[in-house]
């Protein structure tokens, strides 16, 4: 494989992983978060099974609080790539109108995402779910396996994880158990951007700079994406040239001031900016080692 470039090797590896899952699992699904990593994963899935359509549906575990532009992208991509799109909203969270403003980011995330995901997996009886996590995202993810096993209760049991040798993935499991599969584990943030650029993969326009209405809260710029956002007394949205490095629920996603309006601009900014990617995610600030805890509970 000496002659292939880094991106060619990564692409081939991800495709290999996806095909193994399709061949060895009964009812796989691809979790779709609509972000840039998801965009790459979708693009790879379309390649992996061509000329067939990807033989699994997309699942979006919706929190109802994503950016409007994300919902638009979701519909467009599912249609263009020929995926069946499943959207799950936790009915309890919906009934209780759970939101980040009244309930805080921890409860919001737990109810909509963690619980919502478990409900959806149970409802459709999926035995394998592709996720777009990468090992370079933070220190604790470095040890993640590509196939991550979950009990019938969706718990991640460290003792049940299997060594991964060569490119031989063991997908055997008992009834009720499931696997989370991370086909882009070995991609870095730069690889993702480079590939999006090279392959002209559509991404949500929020990644590009534009003048948008934002308010500043606790040092973080939050975009006022709709009128559900309660403004504090005297608070007025400011129009600023901003963009987003990661996407999630709009009240929990910090914008950065930027004028990067093209992909090369974005990549240039990323390479010159000296702060790591996850900094924009409010959810990580809640507690140390928070990803680890969330994973044990069933969040990605």
């Amino acid at each position: 494989m000496a002659g292939l470039t880094n991106l060619q090797r990564l692409e081939a590896e991800s495709i290999h992983i996806m095909r193994e899952v399709i061949a060895e699992c009964d009812n796989p699904v691809m979790l779709y978060s609509i972000g840039k990593d998801s965009a790459v994963m979708l693009h790879l899935a379309a390649k992996a099974f061509y000329p067939s359509k990807p033989p699994f549906p997309l699942l979006h575990v919706d929190t109802t609080w994503k950016f409007k532009a994300m919902y638009e992208m979701r519909e467009r991509m599912a249609k263009e790539l020929g995926f069946e799109l499943l959207v799950h909203k936790n009915p309890e969270a919906l009934a209780q109108n759970i939101n980040p403003f009244d309930h805080g980011s921890a409860l919001h995330t737990d109810m909509w995402k963690t619980e919502g995901l478990k409900q959806a997996l149970d409802k459709y009886q999926f035995d394998a779910a592709f996720g777009g996590a990468r090992r370079d995202e933070e220190k604790s993810r470095a040890k993640e396996r590509i196939f991550s096993f979950r009990s019938a209760q969706h718990r991640w049991d460290p003792k049940q994880q299997r060594p991964e040798l060569w490119h031989l993935y063991n997908a055997k499991k008992h009834k009720g158990e499931s696997i989370r599969v991370f086909p882009i584990s070995n991609w870095t943030e730069l690889d993702i951007w480079q590939y999006i650029y090279l392959e002209k993969i559509p991404i949500v326009p929020l990644y590009y700079s534009a003048v948008r209405p934002v308010v500043e809260r606790g040092g973080t710029l939050i975009m006022v994406d709709d009128d559900r956002m309660p403004l504090l007394p005297g608070e007025k949205p400011m129009m600023k040239s901003v963009r987003f490095r990661t996407l999630g629920c709009y009240p929990l996603t910090g914008a950065v001031e930027s004028t990067a309006a093209t992909l090369p601009d974005i990549i240039q900014e990323m390479l010159l900016t000296k702060s790591s990617e996850r900094q924009g995610r409010v959810i990580d600030h809640d507690q140390a080692a928070s990803m680890e805890k969330k994973k044990q509970e069933g969040y990605f």
Binding site: G3, K143, W166, N186
Partner: protein, 644 residues
Amino acid sequence: MDVSDLIATDILKYLEVHQNKGLLRFITCGSVDDGKSTLIGRLLYDSKMIFEDQLAALESDSKKVGTQGGEIDFALLVDGLAAEREQGITIDVAHRFFSTEKRKFIVADTPGHEQYTRNMVTGASTADLAVILMDARKGVLVQTRRHSFLVSLIGIKNVVLAINKMDLVGYSQETFDKIVADYAAFAKQIGFENVLAIPISGLKGDNITEASTSTPWYKGPTLMHHLETVELADDVRTAPFRMWVQWVNRPDLDFRGFSGQVVSGVIRPGDRIRALPSSRESRVTRIVTKDGDLDEAVAGQSVTITLKDEIDISRGDLMASADALPGVADQFSATLVWMSDTPLLPGRPYWLKIGARVITASVTEIKHKVNVNTLEHLAAKTLELNEIGNINISVEQPVPFDPYTENKNTGGFILIDRMTNATVAAGMLQFALRRADNIHWQAVDVDKVVRSALKGQKACVLWFTGLSGSGKSTIANLVEKQLYALGRHTYMLDGDNVRHGLNRDLGFSDTDRVENIRRVAEVSKLMVDAGLITLVSFISPFRAERRLARDLLQEGEFLEVFIDTPLEEAEKRDPKGLYKKARAGEIKNFTGISSPYERPENPEVRVDTTAMSAEHAAAFILRKLEERGMLMGYRVPEDTTPTA
């Protein structure tokens, strides 16, 4: 101009450069004391992979918990795993990423002393290069030899001997030369041809990215320069074409393609290929990808191939160049690295996964195990966690393969436990023990069906399992007597009797128990073939072995009869006085006391002896046989025995 300057001045040019970067995966071998974490942290830091927020955290952590007196402690960048180790979380391999102008790197970092063999083999399995780290003050230690042996076992050809902590030996050339000379003899013994030794200090940064002024006597490359420029052996590309078929791609009736990753060689439209093990041949018509058809596909690429002829190919088949075929066999000599807390049991069936093929396999012989520290060969009856053995292995159907040393992707395999589904071993095929295609089963006209029909019955095995003293033999005897009275042809294999004859050479260790059952299972299969209703009365405590017996027979021929007697009850009865002896410690490995009994999960017949007498139980079993049509029309009378 430095390429990194392009980021600010000409991003498009930078992207073009980066786009053509290659990838190098490597593993660092060494313990914490050798400065492994410091070295990896240093590589990340020097390649500017550390963001300011991470750097700020690193600086404050270094002051708080660092070991470098407030200076930056690079080890903290990668030591996020310490806390997890304390929580008992198994970490086999952590992957770190960094990149320079020339290459992107994935480092496999394998922590842990106890699990070292398992972890290192796992991390090394995907590595192109190994950095073997040692402490200049200590020289070649037992662990250096162990790491080197494992690197050679997994077949990594590019080896760097990083002699670390040179600052602590005054950058002495003499010390360096002595270590290199000491190591050379050993390297030759394990077959390393090219080893590059570099004097470094991970802590001070000597010869990591910049040539050190403290080692003017060293004329070789820095570690980073070597990692960036070392030529990766091109042997996967020059090897014959191989591709495991992962998935048959059929979007509609007009298209039938075979999707997989080319694991070695090159393939072009028009090339003749053969599918194995079926041995059918055809020509490649197209190499399909979503980005358009390719003129050629090379090792590493994931593609979909279409063929000229409609030949039967399914997942798990190997597509190979018709001019350079792999072997096909069902018995192999192999090296096995055991990775599970539960030891290897020879004879027990496991799943074996090679490429995209999963089949049943069992280890037929352990020739020896290897002491990883001394390379000594030792006799062994089993392999425990982290042990390495030379074994013979047999698979249920012939599989295509190449020796591991020629092709990792067609010679490497894993073993999976059939009950827990855990990956329990990594294996490397060496050679076929004999040509499996020379053996043909004689298809005979007088077969099982004919023989059974002559006797007016359907042959089957009634497999009685249960604790010692549960009543298995008593009930089995009664069933056989009644069958005899009905004019049926039977045979009884009883644990005690068989152990006095056929299995007299076996004891009661787990390994011997497995072999005991395997032999009985094979004998009962022959009995069924002879048309007999075969009664087997064996404790047979392990599910895996009962399953082995079941798998030998056809659907419906194996009836598991679980004589369910609670331990307290069996111990109370103790007809042979064995429980008493076992409790007194006079009998080792006694089922129920000092060796486990795994209850059947879905037995065809379950007899609760606390609710049924032996006579009732026998009548009950006979009715079950009748219900299944095993007695061919005979009606068992209603059970009129008064209830006990």
